[in-house]
Amino acid sequence: MIAQALSYETVQSRRIERQGRRSARVILRVVGETAVIAEAEPVEDACALMLRITQARDKAAFRALFQMLAPKVKAYLIRHGAPPAQAEDLAQETLLTVWRKAEYFDPRKASVAAWVFTIARNLRIDALRRERSAMSYALSVLEPDQAPDNPEIESSTAEREGRVRDAMQSLPREQLEVIRLSFYSDKAHAEIAHELSLPLGTVKSRLRLALARLRGMVGDLA
């Protein structure tokens, strides 16, 4: 109980810290007209860029989003064993899919990072296995929707992203280890158990506890 209270407090303070950073960034941007601190804070958040893409087909926003996310997607694909050239092709294709399928993005259901993750994962599966797979399900549940033009959505999505990150950082080390192996490799939980020399039940219960904690802290996103 004490441990739980402590970690909750840590999470709260992290959240406040981040909110502080965000408002600092806004101030910087206002002052930044003088270009003195233009490089101090680089970017708008991904959600704002994404809204400019969906609403105005804004190519400058796409360029910024590409610069922000393509190198991360490339890193993700390399983690999954893609050779660098293929990782680069797929990272580029991932961002182009963001542009082409922008109307499928629904900020009420997913953050930009989460959406990009599902696209990169699907392209990876298709490319590495060279086959269609059931993972296309993930795209299908995002019905094209009326353009989201509500500024509140932007802040709630950013806040939710923060909660996911806080939740992730608050996971016990052994749960995070299993999560990292799940997302940063091709391994299913049975193979992870084998690799860590753990009983299958232990890995399953770590994933169950991690998911319960995430859902408790993040809330359901729908």
Binding site: A70, A110, F117, H189
Partner: protein, 203 residues
């Protein structure tokens, strides 16, 4: 429609979201998700986690010129990406093969055929004999219901069986039961359908 009572374990949902499930198994999970808002919400949370995991990685720069290549591609039409759901009626099933009165099997080819994906139709009231499984097996009930030692499995319910587990499902008297099943190959009983029928019905 009521929501399902039997769900994939969180570890299975996590494998589904990370992309580690092979296509036949992912398809059976997807069939469950279609009728389960609870698991769809869990999947969304796991996808949000996937996004955070990507953002946490140290970036690896792309080669020079990549971004201009991408910018130049913006006005071109992309390859037509299919974005429709894999639903039971969109899986490329083969012909329905009758095994016994009211009992049939339709196999589907997904992936490179390393696993088996099939629709099994069992008639109302069908009793089976206790049978085990080779490797892991996922089932989502699409229609009707059966009862086994674990409880009642109705439309939308998901069941994972593995090696050592035996069960003896009994189809409801009210109507036939249609299940979407993925299992690991090789399964000797599938080389001869007669043996499959024998395995589950004892006849």
């Amino acid at each position: 429609m009521t929501t399902p009572n039997h769900h994939p374990a969180p570890a299975v949902l996590s494998d589904y979201v990370s992309g580690a499930l092979r296509p036949a198994f992912a398809t059976v999970v997807a069939a469950h998700l279609e009728s389960c808002p609870h698991c769809r919400a869990a999947v969304q949370t796991l996808e949000a986690l996937g996004g955070a995991m990507i953002e946490d990685l140290a970036p690896v720069s792309l080669s020079e010129g990549r971004i201009e290549q991408a910018m130049a591609a913006l006005d071109q039409a992309g390859p037509e990406v299919e974005a429709h759901a894999v639903t039971a009626d969109r899986i490329p099933f083969g012909p329905e093969r009758w095994l016994a009165p009211g009992m049939s099997i339709r196999k589907a080819k997904v992936g490179n055929g390393e696993d088996l994906l099939y629709l099994l139709r069992l008639p109302a009231g069908q009793k089976t004999v206790p049978h085990g499984h080779v490797g892991t097996e996922f089932t989502t009930v699409l229609k009707g219901a059966y009862v086994d030692g674990e409880g009642r499995f109705a439309a939308g319910d998901f069941c994972e069986m593995s090696n050592d587990i035996e069960h003896q499902p009994h189809v409801d008297r009210g109507g036939e039961c249609l299940c979407l099943i993925a299992s690991e190959k090789p399964m000797r009983q599938f080389t001869r359908l007669g043996r499959f029928v024998h395995m589950i019905t004892g006849v």
